[in-house]
Protein backbone atom coordinates (compact mmCIF):
# COMPACT_ATOMS: atom_id res chain seq x y z
CA UNK A 1 0.00 0.00 0.00
CA UNK A 2 1.10 3.56 -0.60
CA UNK A 3 1.13 5.80 2.46
CA UNK A 4 1.94 8.97 0.53
CA UNK A 5 1.21 9.73 -3.12
CA UNK A 6 2.31 13.00 -4.68
CA UNK A 7 1.33 13.91 -8.25
CA UNK A 8 2.68 16.98 -10.05
CA UNK A 9 2.67 19.04 -6.88
CA UNK A 10 3.55 22.69 -7.31
CA UNK A 11 3.61 25.68 -5.01
CA UNK A 12 4.26 29.28 -6.00
CA UNK A 13 4.75 32.12 -3.51
CA UNK A 14 4.14 35.70 -4.40
CA UNK A 15 6.32 38.27 -2.74
CA UNK A 16 6.19 42.01 -3.18
CA UNK A 17 9.62 43.52 -3.54
CA UNK A 18 10.75 47.12 -3.55
CA UNK A 19 9.35 49.94 -1.44
CA UNK A 20 8.62 52.64 -3.99
CA UNK A 21 7.86 50.62 -7.08
CA UNK A 22 6.15 47.55 -5.79
CA UNK A 23 6.70 44.59 -7.98
CA UNK A 24 5.23 41.18 -7.52
CA UNK A 25 7.78 38.45 -7.83
CA UNK A 26 6.80 34.83 -8.17
CA UNK A 27 8.93 32.27 -6.44
CA UNK A 28 8.43 28.65 -7.38
CA UNK A 29 9.22 26.78 -4.19
CA UNK A 30 8.06 23.38 -5.35
CA UNK A 31 8.04 22.75 -9.06
CA UNK A 32 6.00 19.81 -10.29
CA UNK A 33 7.18 16.98 -8.10
CA UNK A 34 5.81 13.44 -7.96
CA UNK A 35 6.75 10.56 -5.71
CA UNK A 36 5.30 7.76 -3.61
CA UNK A 37 6.12 6.50 -0.16
CA UNK A 38 5.19 2.95 0.75
CA UNK A 39 3.61 1.83 3.97
CA UNK A 40 6.17 1.46 6.74
CA UNK A 41 8.94 2.98 4.69
CA UNK A 42 11.47 5.52 5.90
CA UNK A 43 11.70 7.88 2.97
CA UNK A 44 14.23 10.67 2.71
CA UNK A 45 13.83 14.02 1.01
CA UNK A 46 17.35 15.24 0.54
CA UNK A 47 18.42 18.61 -0.75
CA UNK A 48 20.32 21.80 -0.02
CA UNK A 49 18.73 24.64 1.97
CA UNK A 50 15.93 26.34 0.08
CA UNK A 51 15.36 23.36 -2.21
CA UNK A 52 11.64 23.16 -1.32
CA UNK A 53 11.74 20.43 1.32
CA UNK A 54 9.84 22.33 4.03
CA UNK A 55 7.25 23.63 1.58
CA UNK A 56 6.61 20.06 0.45
CA UNK A 57 6.21 18.87 4.04
CA UNK A 58 3.85 21.76 4.84
CA UNK A 59 1.63 20.83 1.91
CA UNK A 60 1.60 17.17 2.89
CA UNK A 61 0.69 18.02 6.50
CA UNK A 62 -2.28 20.20 5.41
CA UNK A 63 -0.57 23.38 6.59
CA UNK A 64 -0.30 24.88 3.14
CA UNK A 65 -2.55 24.66 0.10
CA UNK A 66 -0.75 23.62 -3.11
CA UNK A 67 -0.90 25.89 -6.13
CA UNK A 68 -1.57 22.88 -8.35
CA UNK A 69 -1.21 19.13 -8.45
CA UNK A 70 -2.46 16.76 -5.82
CA UNK A 71 -1.23 14.82 -2.83
CA UNK A 72 -2.77 12.03 -0.82
CA UNK A 73 -1.67 10.76 2.53
CA UNK A 74 -3.22 7.47 3.67
CA UNK A 75 -5.53 7.83 0.69
CA UNK A 76 -6.85 11.19 1.91
CA UNK A 77 -6.50 14.32 -0.17
CA UNK A 78 -4.44 16.92 1.73
CA UNK A 79 -6.73 19.78 0.74
CA UNK A 80 -10.22 18.28 0.66
CA UNK A 81 -9.81 15.84 3.56
CA UNK A 82 -7.52 17.97 5.70
CA UNK A 83 -9.59 17.57 8.86
CA UNK A 84 -9.78 13.80 8.68
CA UNK A 85 -6.12 13.55 7.85
CA UNK A 86 -4.83 15.61 10.77
CA UNK A 87 -5.63 13.09 13.44
CA UNK A 88 -3.73 10.38 11.55
CA UNK A 89 -0.45 12.13 10.86
CA UNK A 90 2.22 13.76 12.97
CA UNK A 91 4.99 16.21 12.16
CA UNK A 92 8.05 17.84 13.64
CA UNK A 93 9.71 20.93 12.29
CA UNK A 94 13.32 21.55 13.19
CA UNK A 95 14.11 24.27 15.71
CA UNK A 96 13.31 25.08 19.28
CA UNK A 97 9.96 26.79 18.89
CA UNK A 98 6.54 25.30 19.34
CA UNK A 99 6.75 24.24 22.96
CA UNK A 100 5.59 25.98 26.12
CA UNK A 101 8.89 26.71 27.80
CA UNK A 102 7.42 27.54 31.16
CA UNK A 103 5.79 24.14 31.46
CA UNK A 104 7.43 20.80 32.08
CA UNK A 105 7.92 18.33 29.28
CA UNK A 106 5.22 16.16 30.83
CA UNK A 107 2.70 19.03 30.96
CA UNK A 108 3.44 19.95 27.36
CA UNK A 109 2.61 16.39 26.32
CA UNK A 110 -0.49 16.26 28.47
CA UNK A 111 -1.80 19.46 26.92
CA UNK A 112 -1.18 18.36 23.35
CA UNK A 113 -2.72 14.96 24.13
CA UNK A 114 -5.96 16.76 24.98
CA UNK A 115 -5.80 18.71 21.72
CA UNK A 116 -5.48 15.40 19.88
CA UNK A 117 -8.45 14.02 21.81
CA UNK A 118 -6.42 11.28 23.42
CA UNK A 119 -8.36 9.74 26.26
CA UNK A 120 -6.82 10.77 29.63
CA UNK A 121 -6.65 7.14 30.71
CA UNK A 122 -4.65 6.35 27.58
CA UNK A 123 -2.40 9.39 27.79
CA UNK A 124 -1.50 8.65 31.42
CA UNK A 125 0.14 5.46 30.21
CA UNK A 126 1.31 6.70 26.86
CA UNK A 127 3.17 9.85 28.02
CA UNK A 128 5.65 8.01 30.27
CA UNK A 129 6.15 5.45 27.51
CA UNK A 130 6.90 8.17 24.96
CA UNK A 131 9.20 10.07 27.31
CA UNK A 132 11.09 6.82 27.66
CA UNK A 133 11.11 6.22 23.90
CA UNK A 134 12.79 9.59 23.29
CA UNK A 135 15.09 9.24 26.28
CA UNK A 136 13.56 11.93 28.48
CA UNK A 137 12.05 9.84 31.30
CA UNK A 138 14.26 11.34 34.00
CA UNK A 139 13.78 14.96 32.83
CA UNK A 140 10.05 14.91 32.09
CA UNK A 141 9.06 16.89 35.17
CA UNK A 142 11.53 19.70 34.48
CA UNK A 143 10.60 22.91 32.71
CA UNK A 144 11.31 22.90 28.99
CA UNK A 145 13.30 26.15 29.22
CA UNK A 146 16.11 24.15 30.88
CA UNK A 147 16.25 21.57 28.08
CA UNK A 148 19.04 21.42 25.54
CA UNK A 149 18.15 21.87 21.92
CA UNK A 150 18.33 18.15 21.31
CA UNK A 151 16.04 17.43 24.26
CA UNK A 152 13.48 19.91 22.94
CA UNK A 153 13.66 18.26 19.56
CA UNK A 154 13.11 14.82 21.10
CA UNK A 155 10.20 16.18 23.12
CA UNK A 156 8.73 17.36 19.81
CA UNK A 157 8.97 13.80 18.54
CA UNK A 158 7.21 12.50 21.63
CA UNK A 159 4.57 15.17 21.11
CA UNK A 160 3.91 14.06 17.59
CA UNK A 161 3.49 10.42 18.65
CA UNK A 162 0.81 11.16 21.27
CA UNK A 163 -2.10 10.24 19.04
CA UNK A 164 -0.25 7.28 17.55
CA UNK A 165 -0.18 8.61 13.97
CA UNK A 166 0.49 6.20 11.11
CA UNK A 167 2.58 8.65 9.10
CA UNK A 168 5.26 10.95 10.49
CA UNK A 169 6.89 13.95 8.84
CA UNK A 170 10.23 14.94 10.30
CA UNK A 171 11.50 18.16 8.77
CA UNK A 172 15.24 18.54 9.40
CA UNK A 173 14.95 17.14 12.93
CA UNK A 174 18.69 17.30 13.55
CA UNK A 175 19.17 20.89 12.43
CA UNK A 176 21.28 22.89 14.86
CA UNK A 177 22.06 19.92 17.09
CA UNK A 178 25.56 19.10 18.24
CA UNK A 179 26.97 15.75 16.99
CA UNK A 180 25.96 13.88 20.16
CA UNK A 181 22.45 15.34 20.13
CA UNK A 182 22.06 14.51 16.46
CA UNK A 183 23.20 10.94 17.02
CA UNK A 184 20.72 10.49 19.88
CA UNK A 185 17.97 11.84 17.70
CA UNK A 186 18.81 9.49 14.86
CA UNK A 187 18.57 6.62 17.31
CA UNK A 188 15.06 7.80 18.20
CA UNK A 189 14.16 7.81 14.51
CA UNK A 190 15.40 4.21 14.21
CA UNK A 191 13.24 3.29 17.20
CA UNK A 192 10.25 4.75 15.37
CA UNK A 193 10.99 2.62 12.37
CA UNK A 194 10.85 -0.38 14.65
CA UNK A 195 7.33 0.78 15.60
CA UNK A 196 6.26 0.32 11.94
CA UNK A 197 5.62 4.00 11.28
CA UNK A 198 5.80 5.42 7.80
CA UNK A 199 8.28 8.27 8.00
CA UNK A 200 9.13 11.05 5.61
CA UNK A 201 12.39 12.63 6.72
CA UNK A 202 13.94 15.72 5.19
CA UNK A 203 17.58 16.55 5.66
CA UNK A 204 20.44 18.24 3.96
CA UNK A 205 22.94 15.82 5.47
CA UNK A 206 23.82 13.10 3.05
CA UNK A 207 25.17 10.68 5.65
CA UNK A 208 21.97 11.05 7.67
CA UNK A 209 19.83 10.08 4.70
CA UNK A 210 22.24 7.24 3.91
CA UNK A 211 22.18 5.93 7.47
CA UNK A 212 18.40 6.07 7.97
CA UNK A 213 16.43 5.99 4.76
CA UNK A 214 15.32 3.11 2.59
CA UNK A 215 14.78 5.37 -0.40
CA UNK A 216 15.87 8.91 -1.07
CA UNK A 217 14.51 11.63 -3.33
CA UNK A 218 17.10 14.28 -4.10
CA UNK A 219 15.39 17.65 -4.48
CA UNK A 220 16.99 20.77 -5.85
CA UNK A 221 15.43 24.11 -6.82
CA UNK A 222 11.96 22.66 -6.27
CA UNK A 223 12.45 19.65 -8.52
CA UNK A 224 13.19 16.02 -7.81
CA UNK A 225 16.39 15.23 -9.68
CA UNK A 226 16.85 11.64 -8.55
CA UNK A 227 14.86 9.05 -6.62
CA UNK A 228 16.33 5.73 -5.61
CA UNK A 229 17.64 3.60 -2.77
CA UNK A 230 20.97 4.75 -1.31
CA UNK A 231 22.62 1.89 -3.19
CA UNK A 232 20.83 2.82 -6.36
CA UNK A 233 21.91 6.45 -6.05
CA UNK A 234 25.49 5.27 -5.73
CA UNK A 235 25.21 3.63 -9.15
CA UNK A 236 24.94 7.15 -10.59
CA UNK A 237 28.63 7.30 -9.99
CA UNK A 238 29.33 3.54 -10.10
CA UNK A 239 31.20 3.75 -13.35
CA UNK A 240 33.42 6.42 -11.90
CA UNK A 241 36.25 6.39 -9.43
CA UNK A 242 37.09 9.28 -7.19
CA UNK A 243 40.66 10.50 -7.29
CA UNK A 244 41.56 12.67 -4.34
CA UNK A 245 44.66 14.88 -4.45
CA UNK A 246 45.84 16.60 -1.32
CA UNK A 247 46.86 20.06 -2.50
CA UNK A 248 47.82 23.47 -1.12
CA UNK A 249 46.06 25.75 -3.56
CA UNK A 250 45.31 25.14 -7.26
CA UNK A 251 45.36 27.93 -9.88
CA UNK A 252 42.06 28.27 -11.74
CA UNK A 253 43.64 27.76 -15.16
CA UNK A 254 44.77 24.32 -14.00
CA UNK A 255 41.21 23.53 -12.87
CA UNK A 256 39.95 24.59 -16.30
CA UNK A 257 42.47 22.39 -17.98
CA UNK A 258 41.51 19.41 -15.80
CA UNK A 259 37.82 19.93 -16.52
CA UNK A 260 38.49 20.02 -20.23
CA UNK A 261 39.74 16.42 -20.29
CA UNK A 262 37.21 14.04 -21.86
CA UNK A 263 37.75 11.38 -19.18
CA UNK A 264 37.10 13.83 -16.30
CA UNK A 265 33.44 14.13 -15.26
CA UNK A 266 33.55 16.56 -12.37
CA UNK A 267 36.21 18.53 -10.60
CA UNK A 268 35.57 19.95 -7.16
CA UNK A 269 37.72 21.43 -4.42
CA UNK A 270 37.03 20.99 -0.72
CA UNK A 271 38.77 22.95 2.00
CA UNK A 272 40.30 20.80 4.72
CA UNK A 273 42.05 22.82 7.42
CA UNK A 274 45.19 24.30 5.80
CA UNK A 275 45.06 21.94 2.89
CA UNK A 276 42.55 21.37 0.14
CA UNK A 277 41.25 18.25 -1.46
CA UNK A 278 40.93 18.24 -5.20
CA UNK A 279 38.30 15.66 -6.11
CA UNK A 280 38.13 14.35 -9.63
CA UNK A 281 35.52 11.86 -10.86
CA UNK A 282 36.73 9.79 -13.70
CA UNK A 283 35.89 6.37 -15.22
CA UNK A 284 39.58 5.74 -15.79
CA UNK A 285 40.35 5.57 -12.09
CA UNK A 286 43.98 5.05 -11.13
CA UNK A 287 45.03 4.91 -14.77
CA UNK A 288 44.24 8.60 -15.07
CA UNK A 289 46.55 9.63 -12.24
CA UNK A 290 49.78 10.04 -14.24
CA UNK A 291 48.07 12.21 -16.87
CA UNK A 292 46.41 14.30 -14.21
CA UNK A 293 49.66 14.74 -12.32
CA UNK A 294 51.42 15.91 -15.47
CA UNK A 295 48.84 18.66 -15.82
CA UNK A 296 49.50 19.79 -12.28
CA UNK A 297 53.16 20.32 -12.82
CA UNK A 298 54.62 22.71 -10.27
CA UNK A 299 51.79 22.33 -7.78
CA UNK A 300 52.64 20.97 -4.36
CA UNK A 301 50.76 17.71 -3.90
CA UNK A 302 50.45 15.53 -0.80
CA UNK A 303 48.69 12.18 -0.74
CA UNK A 304 46.88 10.80 -3.74
CA UNK A 305 43.99 8.42 -3.08
CA UNK A 306 41.85 6.54 -5.57
CA UNK A 307 38.61 5.28 -4.03
CA UNK A 308 35.09 4.00 -4.67
CA UNK A 309 32.45 6.75 -4.89
CA UNK A 310 30.24 7.32 -1.84
CA UNK A 311 26.68 8.56 -1.71
CA UNK A 312 28.10 11.98 -0.99
CA UNK A 313 29.85 11.90 -4.36
CA UNK A 314 26.57 10.97 -6.01
CA UNK A 315 24.87 13.88 -4.29
CA UNK A 316 27.62 16.27 -5.35
CA UNK A 317 27.23 15.12 -8.89
CA UNK A 318 23.44 15.47 -8.79
CA UNK A 319 23.25 18.96 -7.37
CA UNK A 320 26.15 20.12 -9.49
CA UNK A 321 28.92 20.45 -6.94
CA UNK A 322 27.00 22.99 -4.85
CA UNK A 323 26.48 20.87 -1.76
Amino acid sequence: MKAIEVRNLRRVFRATIGVVRRKIKEIVAVDDISFEVYDGELFGLLGPNGAGKTTTVKMLTTMLIPTSGEARVLGLDVVRSAEALRSRIGFVFGGERGLYWRLSGYDNLRYFASLYHVDPAVSRKRIPYLLDLVGLSDRGQEKVEGYSRGMKQRLHIARTLLHDPQVLFLDEPTIGLDPVGARELRQVVRNLQAEKKTILLTTHYMFEADALCQRIAVIDKGRIIALDTPEGLKTYVKDLAVIEFEVYGVPSNVLEQLRAQPYVHTVSVENRDQKQALLIHSPRGSQAVPDLLSMMNGIRIGNVIVREPTLEDAYVRLVGGEA
Binding site: T55, M63, L64, R97, G98, Y111, L115
Partner: protein, 265 residues
Amino acid sequence: MNLKTLRDYGRVIFYAAEMALRSNLTDSFVLFGILVQPIIIALLAFWMLGDRGGEYIIFVVIGSGMTGLWTSCLFISGNSITQERWTGTLELMVSTPTPVSVIVIGKILSNVLQSLASMVLSYTLAIVIFGYVPTINQPVLFTISLLLTILSYACFGLLISPVFVLNPDVQRLQNGLEFPVYVLCGFMFPIALLPGWTTPLSYILSPYWAARALHATSSQWNGLGEVALSWAAMVALSLIYLMLSSLLFKRLLRRARLDATLNIQ
Protein backbone atom coordinates in the same frame (compact mmCIF):
# COMPACT_ATOMS: atom_id res chain seq x y z
CA MET B 1 -21.23 16.56 16.73
CA ASN B 2 -21.49 13.56 18.99
CA LEU B 3 -21.07 13.10 22.71
CA LYS B 4 -17.46 11.93 22.45
CA THR B 5 -16.46 15.04 20.51
CA LEU B 6 -18.22 17.26 23.05
CA ARG B 7 -16.39 15.55 25.88
CA ASP B 8 -13.09 15.94 24.04
CA TYR B 9 -13.75 19.63 23.46
CA GLY B 10 -14.72 20.06 27.10
CA ARG B 11 -11.41 18.54 28.13
CA VAL B 12 -9.49 20.81 25.75
CA ILE B 13 -11.27 23.86 27.18
CA PHE B 14 -10.38 22.74 30.69
CA TYR B 15 -6.71 22.12 29.88
CA ALA B 16 -6.38 25.32 27.86
CA ALA B 17 -7.90 27.22 30.79
CA GLU B 18 -5.44 25.61 33.17
CA MET B 19 -2.53 26.50 30.87
CA ALA B 20 -3.71 30.10 30.66
CA LEU B 21 -3.94 30.29 34.43
CA ARG B 22 -0.45 28.91 34.88
CA SER B 23 1.11 31.20 32.36
CA ASN B 24 -0.75 34.28 33.64
CA LEU B 25 0.29 33.66 37.24
CA THR B 26 3.91 34.15 36.29
CA ASP B 27 3.32 37.05 33.93
CA SER B 28 3.96 40.39 35.57
CA PHE B 29 2.14 42.26 32.83
CA VAL B 30 -1.02 40.29 33.53
CA LEU B 31 -0.69 40.75 37.26
CA PHE B 32 -0.33 44.48 36.79
CA GLY B 33 -3.34 44.70 34.50
CA ILE B 34 -5.78 42.73 36.60
CA LEU B 35 -4.49 43.43 40.11
CA VAL B 36 -2.38 46.58 40.47
CA GLN B 37 -3.95 48.94 37.97
CA PRO B 38 -7.60 48.37 39.01
CA ILE B 39 -6.63 48.68 42.67
CA ILE B 40 -4.92 52.01 42.08
CA ILE B 41 -7.89 53.24 40.05
CA ALA B 42 -10.18 52.09 42.86
CA LEU B 43 -8.10 53.83 45.50
CA LEU B 44 -8.13 57.06 43.56
CA ALA B 45 -11.86 56.83 42.92
CA PHE B 46 -12.60 56.05 46.58
CA TRP B 47 -10.85 59.27 47.56
CA MET B 48 -12.46 61.23 44.72
CA LEU B 49 -16.00 59.94 45.23
CA GLY B 50 -15.82 58.86 48.86
CA ASP B 51 -17.85 61.78 50.19
CA ARG B 52 -20.87 60.58 48.32
CA GLY B 53 -21.43 57.79 50.81
CA GLY B 54 -21.91 54.04 50.92
CA GLU B 55 -23.58 53.55 47.55
CA TYR B 56 -20.58 55.03 45.80
CA ILE B 57 -18.25 52.58 47.43
CA ILE B 58 -19.90 49.60 45.78
CA PHE B 59 -20.15 51.69 42.58
CA VAL B 60 -16.37 52.13 42.62
CA VAL B 61 -15.81 48.44 43.45
CA ILE B 62 -17.86 47.37 40.43
CA GLY B 63 -16.49 50.08 38.17
CA SER B 64 -12.83 49.48 38.91
CA GLY B 65 -13.45 45.74 38.60
CA MET B 66 -14.87 46.39 35.14
CA THR B 67 -11.69 48.25 34.16
CA GLY B 68 -9.70 45.16 35.15
CA LEU B 69 -12.03 42.97 33.07
CA TRP B 70 -11.58 45.14 30.01
CA THR B 71 -7.80 45.46 30.37
CA SER B 72 -7.57 41.69 30.61
CA CYS B 73 -9.91 41.25 27.65
CA LEU B 74 -7.96 43.70 25.49
CA PHE B 75 -4.41 42.65 26.26
CA ILE B 76 -4.59 39.03 27.40
CA SER B 77 -7.60 37.56 25.61
CA GLY B 78 -6.91 39.81 22.64
CA ASN B 79 -3.42 38.35 22.36
CA SER B 80 -4.45 34.75 22.91
CA ILE B 81 -3.83 33.76 19.28
CA THR B 82 -0.96 36.17 18.64
CA GLN B 83 0.85 34.74 21.64
CA GLU B 84 0.68 31.19 20.25
CA ARG B 85 2.18 32.54 17.08
CA TRP B 86 5.09 33.98 19.01
CA THR B 87 5.78 30.68 20.75
CA GLY B 88 5.46 28.83 17.46
CA THR B 89 2.61 26.66 18.74
CA LEU B 90 -0.13 28.10 16.54
CA GLU B 91 0.95 25.95 13.62
CA LEU B 92 0.78 22.86 15.83
CA MET B 93 -2.64 23.86 17.15
CA VAL B 94 -4.05 24.24 13.67
CA SER B 95 -2.86 20.77 12.78
CA THR B 96 -4.67 19.07 15.67
CA PRO B 97 -8.18 17.72 15.24
CA THR B 98 -9.39 20.35 17.74
CA PRO B 99 -10.62 23.59 16.15
CA VAL B 100 -8.42 26.55 17.16
CA SER B 101 -11.52 28.39 18.36
CA VAL B 102 -12.18 25.73 21.01
CA ILE B 103 -8.69 26.19 22.42
CA VAL B 104 -9.08 29.95 22.38
CA ILE B 105 -12.45 29.68 24.17
CA GLY B 106 -10.72 27.81 27.00
CA LYS B 107 -7.98 30.40 27.30
CA ILE B 108 -10.36 33.34 27.19
CA LEU B 109 -12.83 31.91 29.71
CA SER B 110 -9.91 31.41 32.04
CA ASN B 111 -8.76 35.00 31.52
CA VAL B 112 -12.19 36.45 32.19
CA LEU B 113 -12.63 34.42 35.38
CA GLN B 114 -9.18 35.43 36.60
CA SER B 115 -9.82 39.08 35.93
CA LEU B 116 -12.78 38.97 38.31
CA ALA B 117 -9.99 39.14 40.90
CA SER B 118 -9.92 42.90 40.27
CA MET B 119 -13.44 43.21 41.60
CA VAL B 120 -12.75 40.99 44.59
CA LEU B 121 -9.64 42.97 45.42
CA SER B 122 -11.27 46.38 45.25
CA TYR B 123 -14.09 45.00 47.42
CA THR B 124 -11.45 44.02 49.97
CA LEU B 125 -9.78 47.40 49.63
CA ALA B 126 -13.08 49.13 50.37
CA ILE B 127 -13.39 47.14 53.59
CA VAL B 128 -9.82 47.98 54.58
CA ILE B 129 -10.14 51.71 53.84
CA PHE B 130 -13.63 52.38 55.05
CA GLY B 131 -13.95 49.62 57.60
CA TYR B 132 -17.36 48.85 56.19
CA VAL B 133 -18.67 45.99 54.12
CA PRO B 134 -20.37 47.20 50.93
CA THR B 135 -23.57 45.35 50.13
CA ILE B 136 -25.22 44.35 46.88
CA ASN B 137 -28.76 45.61 46.40
CA GLN B 138 -30.18 42.71 44.42
CA PRO B 139 -27.90 39.70 44.99
CA VAL B 140 -29.77 37.25 42.74
CA LEU B 141 -30.13 39.61 39.81
CA PHE B 142 -26.55 40.73 40.37
CA THR B 143 -25.32 37.14 40.10
CA ILE B 144 -27.21 36.62 36.85
CA SER B 145 -25.78 39.89 35.54
CA LEU B 146 -22.29 38.79 36.51
CA LEU B 147 -22.67 35.48 34.66
CA LEU B 148 -23.85 37.31 31.56
CA THR B 149 -20.95 39.73 31.97
CA ILE B 150 -18.48 36.85 31.95
CA LEU B 151 -20.13 35.46 28.85
CA SER B 152 -20.17 38.75 27.01
CA TYR B 153 -16.53 39.53 27.81
CA ALA B 154 -15.57 36.07 26.58
CA CYS B 155 -17.40 36.68 23.29
CA PHE B 156 -15.76 40.08 22.95
CA GLY B 157 -12.37 38.45 23.45
CA LEU B 158 -13.21 35.85 20.79
CA LEU B 159 -13.96 38.68 18.40
CA ILE B 160 -10.85 40.77 18.96
CA SER B 161 -8.24 38.01 19.09
CA PRO B 162 -8.58 37.04 15.41
CA VAL B 163 -8.82 40.73 14.49
CA PHE B 164 -5.42 41.33 16.08
CA VAL B 165 -3.76 38.40 14.30
CA LEU B 166 -5.24 39.33 10.95
CA ASN B 167 -4.37 43.04 11.29
CA PRO B 168 -1.00 43.71 12.90
CA ASP B 169 -1.65 47.44 12.42
CA VAL B 170 -4.67 47.28 14.70
CA GLN B 171 -2.64 45.37 17.25
CA ARG B 172 -0.10 48.19 17.30
CA LEU B 173 -2.87 50.50 18.44
CA GLN B 174 -3.88 48.15 21.24
CA ASN B 175 -2.58 50.46 23.97
CA GLY B 176 -4.80 53.24 22.71
CA LEU B 177 -7.95 51.15 23.09
CA GLU B 178 -7.74 50.68 26.84
CA PHE B 179 -9.02 53.97 28.27
CA PRO B 180 -11.55 54.90 25.57
CA VAL B 181 -13.57 51.84 26.52
CA TYR B 182 -13.35 52.78 30.21
CA VAL B 183 -14.88 56.11 29.17
CA LEU B 184 -17.47 54.87 26.66
CA CYS B 185 -18.78 52.04 28.81
CA GLY B 186 -19.64 54.09 31.86
CA PHE B 187 -17.60 51.97 34.23
CA MET B 188 -16.91 54.76 36.73
CA PHE B 189 -19.28 57.55 35.68
CA PRO B 190 -22.53 57.75 33.69
CA ILE B 191 -22.16 58.15 29.92
CA ALA B 192 -24.62 61.05 30.18
CA LEU B 193 -21.52 63.17 30.88
CA LEU B 194 -20.23 62.42 27.38
CA PRO B 195 -21.29 64.26 24.22
CA GLY B 196 -24.39 62.74 22.59
CA TRP B 197 -22.67 61.48 19.44
CA THR B 198 -20.71 58.90 21.42
CA THR B 199 -23.83 57.16 22.74
CA PRO B 200 -24.26 54.78 19.77
CA LEU B 201 -20.65 53.68 20.27
CA SER B 202 -21.44 52.80 23.87
CA TYR B 203 -24.51 50.86 22.80
CA ILE B 204 -22.61 48.49 20.52
CA LEU B 205 -20.09 47.61 23.24
CA SER B 206 -21.30 44.77 25.42
CA PRO B 207 -19.17 45.93 28.41
CA TYR B 208 -21.38 49.03 28.51
CA TRP B 209 -24.48 46.88 29.07
CA ALA B 210 -22.58 44.72 31.52
CA ALA B 211 -21.60 47.77 33.57
CA ARG B 212 -25.15 49.04 33.41
CA ALA B 213 -26.61 45.76 34.65
CA LEU B 214 -24.04 45.38 37.40
CA HIS B 215 -24.35 48.97 38.64
CA ALA B 216 -28.15 48.75 38.54
CA THR B 217 -28.33 45.53 40.53
CA SER B 218 -25.69 46.58 43.05
CA SER B 219 -26.37 50.23 43.85
CA GLN B 220 -28.43 52.14 41.34
CA TRP B 221 -31.68 50.17 41.28
CA ASN B 222 -34.09 51.54 38.74
CA GLY B 223 -36.51 48.66 38.43
CA LEU B 224 -36.36 45.37 36.58
CA GLY B 225 -36.98 46.95 33.17
CA GLU B 226 -33.52 48.48 32.91
CA VAL B 227 -31.83 45.27 34.02
CA ALA B 228 -33.83 43.17 31.55
CA LEU B 229 -32.89 45.56 28.75
CA SER B 230 -29.20 45.29 29.63
CA TRP B 231 -29.40 41.50 29.72
CA ALA B 232 -31.12 41.36 26.35
CA ALA B 233 -28.54 43.72 24.86
CA MET B 234 -25.68 41.65 26.27
CA VAL B 235 -27.07 38.42 24.83
CA ALA B 236 -27.81 39.97 21.44
CA LEU B 237 -24.41 41.64 21.13
CA SER B 238 -22.64 38.48 22.25
CA LEU B 239 -24.39 36.50 19.54
CA ILE B 240 -23.35 39.07 16.95
CA TYR B 241 -19.76 39.01 18.22
CA LEU B 242 -19.75 35.22 18.03
CA MET B 243 -20.99 35.22 14.47
CA LEU B 244 -18.37 37.74 13.36
CA SER B 245 -15.77 35.83 15.30
CA SER B 246 -16.48 32.53 13.59
CA LEU B 247 -16.19 34.24 10.20
CA LEU B 248 -12.85 35.72 11.22
CA PHE B 249 -11.56 32.38 12.50
CA LYS B 250 -12.42 30.77 9.18
CA ARG B 251 -10.66 33.54 7.31
CA LEU B 252 -7.64 33.28 9.58
CA LEU B 253 -7.22 29.56 9.01
CA ARG B 254 -7.81 29.77 5.29
CA ARG B 255 -5.38 32.65 4.89
CA ALA B 256 -2.78 30.85 6.96
CA ARG B 257 -2.97 27.81 4.69
CA LEU B 258 -2.80 29.93 1.55
CA ASP B 259 0.11 32.15 2.50
CA ALA B 260 1.91 30.04 5.10
CA THR B 261 1.64 32.91 7.58
CA LEU B 262 1.00 30.80 10.68
CA ASN B 263 4.58 30.69 11.72
CA ILE B 264 6.70 33.77 12.18
CA GLN B 265 10.35 32.86 12.32
